[in-house]
């Protein structure tokens, strides 16, 4: 019995000693070393991870850890001090800014990329485009059957991110509340916990409709063109339509810090806004932001 315990303890020491050599830039004592913690938007999480990986390669000694959880999660984390940088795909609400001030800082947001929110359906769905009004009606429950918008005679399976998601709030403000500021998501909307579940469900369910950032769109989805109103052209989201504003459901993506960024964090954000960081933005199907340094 004692032997087993000894072996167990030996394994523990072995595990902890061999981990120090792994992972990019894990030594905290190397020069220009440091830790940056990034949390927040799931829309931005792949982008943020790609930045982190690239940055760690270019700047050995710096560790950048990235998590998702939603813009709401990131904002809370920044307020509570459990993160250095918050990724948010929506702007801070007044109450959240108040909370931050109560904790002694002013949240400073910098737009680092532009994102189009794609509205997708299953490839089998014959519908090609929708107006903003139709989209709002679908998401408030006023339109419940595909045939009302030119599709098959079947109930619409309406999918959405949950309320921790910045995209959820952005879509609500931009689309659902476009005409009626008091509108809320309808009673039949299905709030799935994560973007991937939504992506999977749309890909396999012919009656589903969903929205998410362009970065999550795959070959298994069909992207709808969006018309501002019945007389406009249907616009699909891509680099140019997002940049020039013709795609109506686009928004900036932000990183937020406690006060003005300084030191290690400032270097990181500057790098993101620089050509290296923005190149990664394009590679991941987001749109580089105009405020490049």
């Amino acid at each position: 019995m004692k032997r087993i315990i000894l072996v167990f303890l030996a394994l523990v020491f072995l595990a902890s000693s061999c981990t120090s050599g792994l992972g990019p830039g894990t030594s905290p004592t190397s020069p220009a070393g440091g830790n940056i913690v990034v949390k927040g938007s799931d829309t931005m999480v792949n982008l943020a991870s790609a930045w982190a990986e690239e940055y760690e390669i270019k700047h050995p000694g710096v560790k950048v850890s990235v998590s998702g959880g939603g813009s709401g999660f990131g904002i809370t984390a920044l307020i509570e001090g459990t993160t250095d940088i918050c990724n948010n795909s929506r702007s801070w609400k007044p109450e959240e800014v108040e909370n931050a001030r109560a904790k002694g800082f002013e949240p400073v947001s910098v737009a680092v990329a532009l994102d189009g929110v794609a509205v997708v359906v299953n490839p089998q769905n014959p519908v090609n485009s929708l107006t903003i009004d139709q989209l709002a009606a679908i998401y408030t429950g006023k339109i419940a059957n595909w045939r009302e918008v030119g599709g098959v005679d079947s109930p619409i399976v309406v999918l959405s991110r949950d309320n921790n998601s910045g995209t959820h709030i952005f879509f609500k403000e931009q689309v659902v509340q476009a005409k009626d500021k008091q509108a809320e998501y309808g009673p039949d909307v299905m709030f799935l916990p994560t973007s991937q579940s939504i992506s999977d469900e749309v890909a396999r369910n012919p009656y589903a409709i969903a929205y998410f950032g362009l970065g999550y769109v795959t070959r298994e989805h069909k992207v709808l063109g969006i018309k501002k109103d019945t007389s406009s052209e249907a616009v699909k989201p891509d680099m140019s339509t997002i940049k020039d504003g013709t795609y109506p459901v686009a928004r900036p993506l932000y990183v937020t810090t406690r006060g003005e960024a300084q030191g290690l964090i400032k270097e990181y954000i500057d790098w993101i806004l620089g050509s290296d960081g923005q190149k990664i933005v394009s590679e991941l199907d987001f749109v580089p932001h105009a405020t490049q340094k």
Binding site: I75, I79, E80, V157, N163, D200, N205
Partner: protein, 309 residues
């Protein structure tokens, strides 16, 4: 097993004052530790109430429990949890409808019909099922079961209460099976022998003698299984569909109390209204499972006393 040095007499070690003090310290520690489970339970209750009760200053308990709208991040926020209570109950009901007959049947099979060799094989399989992490079951439910349910029942989506209930029954089954099986095998063999002596078949004996005698244990197992089902989080999170309105049908997508808490707790600002409301939901969950467990324990105690007599 190595035998320890039992032969070494303790008299030679003696009862020195130093030893007596050391022993007193250890014994005090032991006496304190005995209470640890009660202490932890108490702490859980205190903290849940501490963080959750404040919400009732914003929303009164009736509107909270019976309100049908849940808008935690709107202005102004609205907190009504009835749809989730109903969702949890519906999913649990589906799980029990499936798990109870199959579970008791399996318990009877293992206890009375299976030959010893098969028994030794079946019990580990049940324990393997018990050990399946709930996230794995949720994953399997999402990838495999949901599309199946969707096509078999011609639904618009497979992410609904029925699918969640089916996967949940897999979680209840080990509890129901093992406790019922224990109850059945602890029925004194005199009962069985008397029944055979009267000319009954094995099935008649099971049905009319053993099951009734074991019924407190079986009922307790169902209650404990129900408690597990109500408390399950990850499986339900992934496959129940996430609709916030009151479900009218088990094939509707719905939300459960547990899943709601899990999704929203990480982004609720600490000690804000949403945070308090989620803790209040925790209180509701805690009280439900408390009641279920106490009743189950009372029922089990009844069986223990009955068998002792």
């Amino acid at each position: 097993m190595r035998t320890r040095k039992c032969g070494k007499t303790f008299l030679s070690e003696g009862h020195s004052p130093k030893r007596r003090v050391g022993e007193k310290v250890i014994e005090a520690l032991i006496r304190f530790s005995g209470w640890i489970t009660l202490i932890v339970l108490g702490l859980i209750m205190i903290l849940l109430f501490r963080e959750g009760l404040p919400i009732f200053g914003y929303t009164d308990p009736v509107s909270f429990l019976f309100g049908t709208t849940w808008l935690p991040v709107s202005s102004p926020p609205v907190f009504g949890i009835l749809p989730f209570v109903i969702g949890s109950l519906m999913i649990t009901l589906v799980a029990l409808v499936i798990a109870v007959p199959i579970g008791i049947g399996t318990a009877a099979f293992i206890s009375e019909i299976a030959p010893t060799g098969l028994k030794e094989l079946l019990k580990p399989i049940i324990e393997i099922l018990a050990g399946f992490p709930s996230i794995v079951l949720g994953f399997i439910g999402f990838i495999l079961l949901a599309p199946l349910v969707q096509s078999v029942f011609h639904l618009s989506t497979g992410l609904n209460g029925l699918t969640a209930g089916i996967m949940l029954s897999l979680i209840c089954l080990p509890t129901i099976i093992s406790i019922s099986e224990d109850a059945l095998s602890s029925v004194p063999s005199e009962y069985k022998e008397a029944s055979y002596a009267l000319g009954a078949t094995r099935w008649q004996t099971i049905r009319k003698v053993l099951l009734p005698a074991a019924s407190p244990g079986v009922v307790a197992s169902i209650m404990l299984g129900m408690g597990r089902a109500i408390g399950e989080t990850m499986t339900v999170l992934m496959i129940s569909g996430g609709r916030l309105s009151i479900p009218t049908n088990i094939t509707d997508p719905m939300s459960a109390l547990t899943a709601r808490i899990a999704i929203e707790i990480n982004n609720a600002s600490f000690r804000g209204l949403q945070f308090q409301a989620l803790f209040a939901m925790g209180i509701v969950l805690f009280l439900i499972t408390l009641v279920v467990n106490i009743v189950a324990d009372l029922v089990l105690e009844k069986q223990r006393r009955r068998l002792r007599a």
